[in-house]
Amino acid sequence: MTFEPLLIGFTCNWCSYRAADLAGTARIKYPPNVRLVRLMCAGRLDPTFVLKAFAGGADGVVVTGCWPGDCHYREQNFKGLRRFLLLRRTITALGIEPQRLQLVWASAAEGERFASEMGRITEEVRALGPLAWHAGSAAAPTAEGETRAAAPIEPVGVTA
């Protein structure tokens, strides 16, 4: 069976989600691997969302927002940018490849760009292979992807 990466995308309501909408109405094709979650702003991105996505089985996470200077809430996308940069450092230290977490700026007019970026990221994550962070393992994989103990598990604290 070929590996289809699962990506979770956190998009901002005002630019990048509109870009995704535009890609749709313009019938631009991009891989269906990305599941979008609409936030009001990239600044709404709680690092918990990203960690929860990885813990819950996502192979990659994309955060999107308005271009710097274009934020509907003036400068909250910079807050999203800073959280993204800090998160990327932390997940790397925890053993997840940094390419699995990416940031894309896209304006409401950039349906084409949104689609091509989703395509690029999907292929990058596909090349990395499955993250399988807790697939059937009591122990999470290390950076090299080994150490799987056998025991059915439930992700901790992920219940709503």
């Binding site: 690092p47 960690l51 959280r83 940069l85 998160l87 009591a138």
Partner: protein, 322 residues
């Protein structure tokens, strides 16, 4: 009171309630407390289920012995308290969840400064063929792949955070339990955090707080002097107060040292590190990626900073419910 994978500091914290201990002794028959008195596991096994009123369980679950004692004490106790940071969220021993058991054993038995020419490593089972005292099999508890917290192993009634819990808080909790047994007090709902607040360490901190804009993160030794009144985070010291539960009285910041987060996550926090990353990233005073990265370089060990006490309870490196 029992200690699993812990340092024993929690036992000391209980002893530090001073004269209150006499009251505890008057109210309770202390049946099992390896740190303070002689008692055997067999004594506990021989007790009827539910015959222990309160069990303060400190330490995480690192091996089969810890897990067995957790299950045993759960069965024998009416009220099981995860006592201290290790039992609640893994604490320092939980940082071992960053690596594999092999890596851990390598570090401990073959690491720098270790003289182990025969490369001896503990074996869970060792057969003795012709020993001076006869033949047989010696067994050690099997080491678990990951450290789990008490509530990832058995059902827990209450959580008492802290590394160790402050003795004043311990005394309050003991008083509450004694009161509840006498019918003058009622215990909080099962699952509650006891002996601590619901807000954050910042709420207890007396330092002056302003709108934060952090231009650099520094170590305390990099500062010529620490302003005695200003928020430590505003001075560039990575202080974990914003994500940490109150209850300690903000002792560390009061002494000029940043909070390191031993009281665990504040109410409603799913992942302690995520909350803290959110707080730190929000106050970094930069909008250019290069400048942000330069400021973040001031936190060289993000896992140590954000998960020092809570890795075993974290979303990504947590132990799992058994």
């Amino acid at each position: 009171m029992y200690w699993a994978s812990s340092c024993g500091g929690c036992d000391i914290a209980v002893l530090n309630v001073h004269e209150m201990l006499l009251e505890v002794d008057r109210q309770f028959d202390i049946v099992f407390w390896p740190a303070a008195m002689d008692a055997k596991y067999a004594d506990v096994r021989s007790m009827a289920d539910g015959s222990i009123d309160v069990c303060l369980f400190s330490g995480g679950i690192r091996n089969e012995e810890n897990a067995e004692m957790a299950r045993l004490l759960r069965a024998k106790s009416k009220v099981l308290v995860a006592f201290g940071s290790c039992a609640c969220e893994g604490c320092i021993p939980g940082l071992a969840n960053l690596g594999t058991v092999d890596e851990l054993f390598d570090a401990v038995y073959e690491g720098p400064g270790v003289d182990n020419p025969q490369h001896l490593v503990p074996q869970p089972e060792w057969r003795i063929a012709d020993g001076a005292t006869g033949t047989g099999v010696l067994r050690l508890p099997v080491f678990s792949p990951m450290l789990t917290t008490l509530d990832q192993t058995v059902a827990v009634d209450y959580f008492m955070p802290g590394c160790p819990p402050e003795s004043a808080r311990v005394a309050e909790v003991l008083k509450l339990v004694i009161g509840a047994m006498g019918g003058t007090e009622t215990l909080p709902p099962v699952g509650s955090v006891i002996g601590a607040g619901t807000s954050t360490c910042c709420d207890e901190c007396a330092r002056d707080r302003n709108l934060k804009k952090i231009d650099r993160f520094v170590r305390i030794t990099d500062l010529a002097e620490v302003d005695p009144r200003l928020c430590l985070l505003e001075q560039g010291l990575p202080c974990n107060g914003p994500a940490t539960r109150d209850g300690c009285g903000a002792l560390c910041p009061a002494a000029g040292a940043p909070c390191i987060g031993c009281y665990g996550p504040a109410d409603g926090v799913v992942d302690y590190g995520a909350r803290l990353m959110s707080a730190f990233a929000s106050v970094v005073n930069a909008t250019e990626p290069e400048e942000i990265e330069r400021i973040l370089d001031g936190i060289p060990d993000p896992v140590g900073q954000f998960y020092r006490f809570s890795l075993a309870k974290s979303l990504l490196r947590g132990g799992r419910n058994a």
